[in-house]
């Protein structure tokens, strides 16, 4: 590593840095492909892209252990990929094939994976928070040193469930890591039009939950904050709240004409693209060569090709199984 640093930022470790970049790239390219496949009508229903917010999922996942749990929203492709859910299974899910991670029953908004303790994929805003509180309660009652990471958007903060869950988690000192992805909009509603107090951390502290704002466009900052918070939670300190300040580069869903924000604002945020800024920083520190990037792109592309092939080769669940997963008897049979 060169000793002459143009930037004031801390020195980074090459392998881990390239890993973080690789993870963000996997998500970015995967979702670009999803958008393409949506237009090609291979993917249907609602499709919510995470593009622009990759640093949050990637950074937070670095702080989680294999037996920790994750609860996410309908905008969860990035979280699933960063958590290690099979890209093929995710793609097959969006195709509606039975090889999908939810057997094609959930689709884009409901990715589930028992192997990685990925509890979905919840399409009711705020609906995942009580699940996270309960998962954490189970861990605490069974004396396990686990963390449950709960992802939700800033729009969910207005829901009564946010209030009830912050209080319950704090009151019972439950090991929940609340990860609020503040991308400034809930569909078309800007934070300032939905909250009388827009300092979300201040809200969290009103429940005596420690809270920190984090630059959600900086994967290193996200990882650092997540490591610190997860350690505190794991140590039994009760819940922790992190506000990740980020931005959604794409439309809310595939049906959104984006009348509520202007191009300049979007462009300004794209200047802070978590992948680009991180690449620049790595190059500054001499940690990234063109060849590295080329390799990462190739790997990502290859992974996506395999995922699409897997999904295409997938099969339709037989109609006789329609009601199979309503109750466990059926699921077992």
């Amino acid at each position: 590593m060169t000793s002459s640093q143009p930037s004031q930022q801390p020195l980074l470790e090459r392998n881990h840095s390239l890993y973080l970049l690789r993870e963000m790239l996997r998500i970015r390219r995967f979702e670009e492909k999803c958008a393409e496949l949506y237009s090609a009508t291979k993917i249907r229903g609602f499709l919510h892209l995470y593009i622009g917010e990759e640093a949050v999922a990637v950074g937070v996942m670095q702080a989680l252990e294999p037996d920790d749990a994750i609860v996410a929203t309908y905008r969860e492709h990035g979280h699933a990929l960063a958590r290690g859910v099979s890209p093929g299974a995710i793609m097959a899910e969006m195709y509606g094939k039975q090889e999908g991670c939810s057997r094609g029953r959930g689709g884009s908004m409901h990715l589930f994976d028992a192997a990685t303790r990925f509890y979905g994929g919840n399409a009711i805003v705020g609906g995942g928070l009580p699940l996270a509180v309960g998962l954490a309660l189970a861990d605490k009652m069974q004396g396990r040193q686990r963390v449950t990471a709960c992802f939700f958007g800033e729009g969910a903060v207005a829901e009564g469930e946010f209030h009830e869950c912050m209080n319950l988690a704090a009151l019972w000192k439950l090991p929940v890591l609340f990860c609020c992805e503040n991308n400034l909009y809930a569909m078309g509603t800007a934070l300032k039009r939905s909250e009388s107090e827009i300092d979300l951390c201040l809200k969290a502290t009103s429940y005596e939950v420690p809270a920190w704002p984090v630059d959600g466009m900086d994967v290193v900052a996200v990882e650092e904050a997540a490591q610190r918070a997860a350690a505190a939670v794991r140590a039994g300190g009760g819940p922790y709240f992190l506000e990740f300040r980020t931005y959604r580069f794409r439309a809310h869903s595939m049906f959104d004409p984006q009348l509520y924000r202007d191009k300049q604002e979007v462009e300004a945020w794209k200047e802070r693209d978590p992948l680009n800024t991180f690449q620049v920083r790595l190059r500054e520190q001499g940690l990234l060569e063109d060849a590295d990037l080329a390799r990462l792109e190739e790997e990502a592309a290859a992974e996506i090709t395999r995922a699409v092939e897997f999904a295409e080769a997938g099969t339709w669940e037989p109609l006789e199984d329609l009601t199979k997963y309503v109750y466990s008897e059926g699921a077992r049979s």
Partner: protein
């Protein structure tokens, strides 16, 4: 065919919007409130343009707080306004159910008739767009169980255009369920189309051999089925309930008395759907008129699967309606 001069082509979405605009123009007390009804233009673009026309005081974007803004609609109605509350979809209305069932439906009664609640709540309902289990409920028939509210299901352009104003004139809470599959329905509507009654069922197709009773999202499929049946020289009558509470029992019994055979088509889950209530009322009011038992074509009892082929199998389809009727008429004599 109505003369060109007197009619125009319009979609269900536009008919709803026209009705909203008219209501806002005719009555100063009317205002629209809900998530993304303003800047976003409505999650299904129904209210698009109304913010620009009527301003943010009367086209109110709300935070994600279903219980608070539905309850605020009840309070505003008590305070002399004529609120139209939009809940994006019936799926999220469950978060506001306490306000609807315990306040909107009870206050007139609990106050001994002192306080009525002239409130209209609109929401999208139904499946068919691969939105999976949390975004595909058809609960309008379920809501019809609650005394104190009225439940409307506009299934035609005339009703999309005409039911809102009549509902606003009603002194009590009226819920309007708009099936998501209908918004793009296009057709001719009389330029002077206006308010319509909201308490009578309508015969959409007269017939003699069998009564097909339905409402909302399944009216179109039922009319198609009737066409196919006509080709098999089975002359089916199609009755559109239009209102699920109150239910127009008289019209139901009249039709059954004409045809002596009945099939009820209902997108709700079979058990405990409004189709059960209709069958029970026919049992009680026209038992001796029946040549064969009343049959039901409903949704399979499964949370809606994402995968298209499974979703289609879960929902009432033209072919299932046709088959059911053919078996029934086959079992003639």
């Amino acid at each position: 065919m109505t003369a060109e001069a007197k009619t125009g082509r319009i979609t269900y979405r536009e008919a709803m919007r026209t009705a909203l605009r008219e209501a806002l123009q005719r009555d100063e007390r009317v205002f629209l409130m809900g998530e993304d009804v303003g800047r976003y233009g409505g999650c299904f673009a129904v209210s698009k343009g109304l913010l620009e026309e009527f301003g943010p005081e009367r086209i109110r974007d709300t935070p994600l707080s279903e219980s608070a803004f539905v309850g605020a609609g009840i309070g505003a109605a008590l305070g002399g306004m004529r609120p139209i509350v939009e809940i994006m979809t019936v799926n999220f209305s469950l978060l506001a159910l306490d306000q609807i069932v315990n306040n909107a439906a009870t206050i007139l009664h609990m106050s001994g008739g002192q306080f009525n609640i002239p409130l209209v709540i609109r929401m999208t309902t139904g499946a068919g767009r691969q939105l999976a289990a949390q975004h595909s409920h058809s609960l309008e028939g379920w809501y019809a169980h609650i005394p104190g509210i009225k439940v409307l299901t506009p299934a035609t352009l005339e009703d999309a255009r005409g039911m809102l104003w009549t509902a606003l004139q009603d002194p009590d809470p009226v819920l309007i369920f708009e099936h998501g599959g209908l918004y793009n329905l296009e057709g001719e509507l009389a330029a002077d189309a206006g308010a319509v009654n909201i308490d009578k069922a309508a015969v959409r197709r007269p017939g003699t051999d069998v009564s097909l009773i339905t409402y909302g999202g399944t009216l179109g499929k039922t009319l198609q089925a009737a066409e196919e049946l006509a080709g098999m020289s089975i002359n089916a009558e199609v009755l559109d309930l239009r209102s699920l509470r109150p239910l127009d029992t008289a019209s139901i019994l009249e039709s059954v008395t004409r045809t002596h055979r009945t099939v009820i088509i209902d997108e709700g889950w079979r058990s405990g759907s409004i189709s059960a209530e209709i069958s029970a009322r026919i049992m009680e009011g026209a038992f001796y008129e029946l040549d064969v038992p009343v049959a039901r074509v409903c949704s399979a009892e499964v949370p809606m699967p994402y995968s298209r082929h499974l979703e289609e199998a879960a929902l009432p389809q033209v072919r299932t309606i046709v088959e059911t009727v053919r078996q029934m008429v086959g079992s003639r004599g």
